[in-house]
């Protein structure tokens, strides 16, 4: 029993705080999208699509809310199959736009299935973990989730739509954390992924900037991927390093199990060979995509220019902003992607600090309500869903706000409910509907 009375713990079927925050964000988002494209006319494609997406999103919300969320638990295999079918379908029949095949073009609108899959894969993963019961702390649970989601990630990467993966991964980590898996293994996998990614991305970066090869260290590092002798030498070196570290700590009379040193060595080597494998599999155009990911929306002036322009817009807005439809930075096109990923720059320029703090505050309110609902949920599945959706929104908030304020590197990630993007809006509202469904079927009154 809670020691204090949580807000929304009455007999309501709807958490009004969460609903209010959602509604406020959607309204703010719509206003700023219209302002960003500088139009209120229905003939503007962005305005039209958004006005169509809003009722669809409302339906998705009501759908998520009114259905008992446990249906996803029961029918998780069907849901899983549905996701795979959608993702395979988009690879086969999707339209090819801006370097990726991630859109279904339907008669009245286009749809991005990876957005739906983002939410659905959380539901599926939660269902799987829920079923593991008390065996959750075993490594097998971890591998199980990995194996389960590998096809989904793989299919999304084939589009490729890196941003969906980037967002779902931390959400999954939060989910695992809340499930109670052994975080040591999670950390280990994270490091392995990190090392692999480090090698792959570094080599790709060097490949795209051949002038770096003039530096000897970089040359040797790059040749690791292609020269067997170098590979062998590096492996021996790492092994010796691991052994040396073990010996060193032993001399210091610090008793550390040798298992950790073996493990660390193994992880680095696995990362190296994983990296080599990925590197050899990559084709030039894929490398280009990795680079595009490293510097999204790369234009002649570079990604740094985009962020700078966005920051200029926000800074120029000051405390009170220039007023809706009056921001010069956004209206004259200095802020790139201003109605999607950089919508916050428009908010900042036209509504000022109050606007950005309002959005941030509403987001934090939303996150807090989701956590509270997780706490109040009637069963473990509801709890896990909320944790996963919390992770998803938290990641969105961190990456998008962080990108604009220069706290995290640039990544092309929208801000759900605020940014333009029908599929994103609909799937986000669906996710929030599911959270409301958990609330309405909560255990604690």
């Amino acid at each position: 029993m809670p020691r204090f009375k949580l807000p929304g713990s009455g007999r309501n079927r709807l958490d009004y705080l969460l609903f209010g925050a959602t509604l406020a964000l959607v309204v703010l988002g719509a206003l700023n999208i219209f302002s960003a494209v500088n139009s209120l006319s229905f003939s503007n494609p962005v305005v039209r699509t958004h006005l169509l997406a809003l009722p669809v999103g409302a339906c998705a919300f009501i759908f998520g809310w009114s259905f008992n969320y446990q249906i996803y638990d029961e029918q998780w295999k069907g849901l899983y199959g549905f996701i795979l079918a959608l993702l395979i379908g988009v690879l086969l029949f999707g339209s090819y736009q801006r370097g990726s095949r991630s859109w279904f073009v339907l008669p009245f609108f286009s749809m991005q299935p990876s957005e739906i899959c983002r939410v659905a894969s959380i539901l599926v993963a939660a269902a799987f973990l829920d079923r593991r019961g008390r065996r959750i702390r075993e490594v097998s649970s971890l591998f199980g989730v990995g194996l389960l989601l590998l096809p989904i990630f793989g299919l999304i990467m084939m589009q490729p739509d890196f941003s969906s993966v980037v967002i779902t991964f931390p959400a999954l980590l939060v989910l695992l954390y809340c499930t109670g898996v052994n975080m040591f293994y999670v950390g280990l996998i994270g490091v392995l992924g990190g090392v692999t990614g480090f090698f792959t991305i570094s080599w790709t970066y060097i490949y795209l900037h051949p002038e770096l090869l003039d530096i000897g260290v970089i040359r040797v590092f790059y040749d690791l991927a292609h020269n067997g002798w170098y590979m062998a030498g590096f492996s021996v070196f790492i092994t010796l390093l691991g052994y040396g570290a073990w010996w060193f700590f032993k001399q210091l009379r610090l008793v550390l199990p040798s298992f950790y040193f073996v493990l660390a060595t193994m992880v680095v080597l696995a990362g190296l060979f994983g990296g080599i494998f990925v590197d050899h599999q990559m084709k030039p155009h894929q490398r280009k995509r990795v680079e595009t990911f490293l510097a999204p929306k790369s234009d002649p002036k570079g990604a740094g220019y985009n962020v700078l322009q966005a920051q200029i817009a926000m800074g120029a807005g000051g405390v009170f902003g220039k007023g809706l439809f009056s921001g010069t930075q956004s209206r004259l096109g200095f802020v790139p992607e201003r109605h999607t990923d950089f919508i916050l720059a428009v908010v900042g320029e036209e509504m000022g600090l109050w606007g950005t703090l309002l959005v941030l505050g509403l987001y934090l309110l939303m996150l807090w309500r989701i956590i509270t609902i997780a706490y109040m949920s009637g069963d473990r599945y509801g709890y896990l869903i909320c944790a996963g959706i919390f992770g998803m929104f938290f990641t969105y908030m961190m990456v998008n706000f962080g990108m604009l304020t220069g706290v995290v590197p640039v990544a092309g990630i929208p801000l759900p409910l605020i940014s333009y993007g029908g599929s994103n809006l609909v799937s986000s509202l669906w996710a929030l509907g599911v959270v409301q469904s958990v609330y309405s079927r909560r255990l604690r009154a």
Binding site: A316, V319, L332, L353, W368, F394, M398
Partner: protein, 612 residues
């Protein structure tokens, strides 16, 4: 169950704390960006969206003392294309109509137009256009929307090479100058700045504040609207001490002299103000600021910057006899009535010193008026070289005049003390050479003018100055620049001056300086012919004059290089200058121009001659 719930509970709390901390960091960053850095970002945003078509402001004018604008501004136009009309047919028609007026090939113009129209940017089609074409182009503006004429001004020197060595000229900035005069001071990379003379020295005052047409542009530079049209502010006017007529007479005289090379300087002996300072050959500073659409005669941009009046040093020759005479009078051992026979030569030991003629018995006045060398040889050997050197020092020979002009030469003082300091010997021959102003003695024409003025004012050696004041066109504030400054007083006896005046007037009335004898004036003068071992002799003329019954009000020195004779070459120039001073010709009409305080009216009529 309870244990599990508790376990879940703490993890959820940790997550919420993490989210709150993350939100806090982001909020701090937002405050940093939107509050603390608001001003700088706002400036950047404004810079982003505004493009300025600058309009060069009129530079301050330069006036002579009698109010003639000798450096002013003329209207000039730049033509821009701001339209986004991309219709090739329209652009072709526009190019066909406009190209001949701009004097640029039609294909080039069409290419520029098409490129500009596609980009939507403000495109400069031509700059520095004369009013002649703009009247027609202004009409085309109505037929071709998108064509935009921007009014500017350009420097113009209505009298060509008038006082060019004083005025200087304009030129583009080089890297070093750009570092010194950057955008903060209102300069642009294509701004023209003063490169020499007054244009350089008073650059900061002369430069106005450029106006500009402020355009709102989008991220591709496409023009969205014209925000405002900011009017320029004209630079401050500089007032010189020059007398227009005298300066012009000096320049004309030198141009028409035997060799066309020389210098003429006139000073006001009462103040040291420069009435004229001419150096020939001169140059026309207009060649650096020409219109782009006018047929320009192929002119070499190499100009003669050498200012002979302050940088040329020559022996003063017979004009120096005033000093020798003064030293003799001052010594008291010479009787002016005492006659000395001039057989045409003077024997000094084994050496023979020649006179330029055979004058027979001459007294002091004859000696001066006929410029008899023998007379001064005799006198000099009687009074000694040291006495002559003393008087030289009184008039500050061998020292710069102190005028505010770059590269002034000091000349060379000549005398036994000077020799002693250099640890060499002084010979009798040196005394004789010194007495007639030859030998190592060197002066600039300006120095000699200063000397003439000093004699005219009975001993006041003034520092010459040529800039009176600077008057701001914006605030009306007056900045005084030059003022009379006595450097030294040549303390000779009053009788000495009286006698010198008498002798010099006698020289003009009956002697070698007859050429400057003018009715109604008291003119005092002395000629000089400097022997030149390398070629033809140089001609000198020194004079000062005043109306009858008045103090001398003008003192001048004229020098004609290789002019052969002082009287024949330099005399006519001096006479013209004196005539111009005492009986000035009508000043050039600059009517509305000169008095137009508001530069705007300049563009109303498109009058080609509307120089201001």
């Amino acid at each position: 169950m309870a244990v599990t719930k508790l376990f879940f509970n703490t993890r959820l709390k940790k997550l919420m704390i993490l989210a709150t901390i993350a939100g806090g960091i982001i909020a701090l960053r937002l405050v940093d960006i939107q509050v603390l850095r608001h001003n700088s970002y706002l400036q950047m945003a404004e810079r982003n969206r505004t493009q300025i078509i600058y309009q060069t402001a009129p530079r301050g004018r330069v006036f002579t003392a009698d109010g003639v604008a000798v450096a002013s501004n003329a209207p000039s136009f730049s033509m821009y294309y701001l339209g986004a009309m991309q219709d090739t047919e329209y652009l072709t028609k526009l190019a066909t109509d406009v190209a001949p007026r701009l004097k640029i090939p039609q294909e080039d113009l069409l290419n520029t137009l098409i490129k500009g129209a596609r980009s939507g940017k403000a495109t400069l089609l031509a700059e520095n256009l004369s009013t002649k074409s703009t009247v027609a182009l202004q009409e085309l503006q109505f037929y071709y929307p998108g064509v935009y004429l921007v009014e500017e001004t350009k420097r113009s020197y209505p009298f060509g090479g008038f006082a060019s060595h004083l005025l200087g000229y304009l030129g583009s900035m080089d890297d070093r100058e750009w570092r010194k005069r950057d955008a903060k001071l209102g300069y642009r990379l294509n701004s023209k700045i003063g490169k020499n003379g007054i244009e350089k020295k008073f650059e900061t005052d002369l430069k106005g504040t450029d106006g500009g047409v402020y355009l709102e542009v989008d991220y591709r530079g496409r023009v969205k609207s014209i925000i405002e049209d900011k009017k320029w502010g004209a630079g401050s006017d500089v007032y010189l001490t020059l007398n227009f007529a005298v300066q012009q007479a000096a320049e004309e005289g030198l141009r028409n002299s035997l060799t066309g090379r020389g210098a003429a300087v006139a000073l006001d002996p009462r103040t040291g103000a420069v009435l004229a300072l001419a150096s020939a050959p001169a140059y026309d500073p207009n060649i650096f600021v020409q219109y782009s659409d006018e047929e320009n005669p192929a002119q070499s941009k190499k100009i003669n910057e050498y200012n002979l009046a302050v940088q040329g040093i020559y022996p003063p020759a017979s004009t120096f006899k005033i000093i020798t005479g003064a030293a003799a009078l001052e010594s008291g051992i010479i009787d002016t009535k005492h006659k000395i026979n001039c057989p045409g030569h003077y024997n000094s030991g084994p050496r023979v010193f020649k006179c330029w003629g055979t004058h027979g018995p001459v007294d002091f006045f004859d000696g001066m008026s006929n410029s008899c060398d023998v007379y001064f040889y005799v006198v000099a050997s009687q009074i000694g070289a040291a006495a002559i050197e003393r008087v030289q020092r009184m008039f500050m020979f061998g020292r710069p005049t102190g005028i505010d002009l770059p590269g002034e030469k000091a000349g060379n003082l000549y005398g036994p003390t000077r020799r002693a300091r250099n640890k060499t010997y002084w010979f009798v021959g040196d005394t004789l050479n010194l007495s007639i102003g030859q030998g190592e003695l060197l002066v600039t024409p300006l120095k000699l003018a200063q000397f003439a003025a000093a004699v005219a004012s009975r001993g006041n050696v003034y520092r010459p100055y040529y800039v009176e004041k600077i008057v701001s066109n914006q605030t009306g504030k007056v900045k005084e620049i030059g003022h009379p400054e006595i450097l030294q007083h040549a303390d000779l006896k009053p009788e000495t001056y009286d006698t010198l005046f008498k002798a010099l007037k006698y020289t003009v009335d009956t002697g070698t300086a007859r050429r400057v004898k003018i009715k109604g004036l008291n003119v005092y003068g002395k000629t000089g012919t400097a022997q030149n071992p390398h070629g033809a002799d140089h001609g000198w003329f020194l004079a000062f004059a005043g109306r009858e019954g008045e103090e001398p009000s003008i003192a001048l020195a004229v020098f004609v290089e290789f002019g052969e004779g002082g009287s024949s070459a330099a005399g006519p120039v001096a006479r013209k200058m004196l005539e111009a001073y005492f009986n000035p010709p009508p000043l050039p009409t600059q009517t509305r121009a000169r008095l137009a305080a508001d530069y705007n009216e300049l563009f109303v009529t498109g009058d080609e001659n509307a120089a201001i």
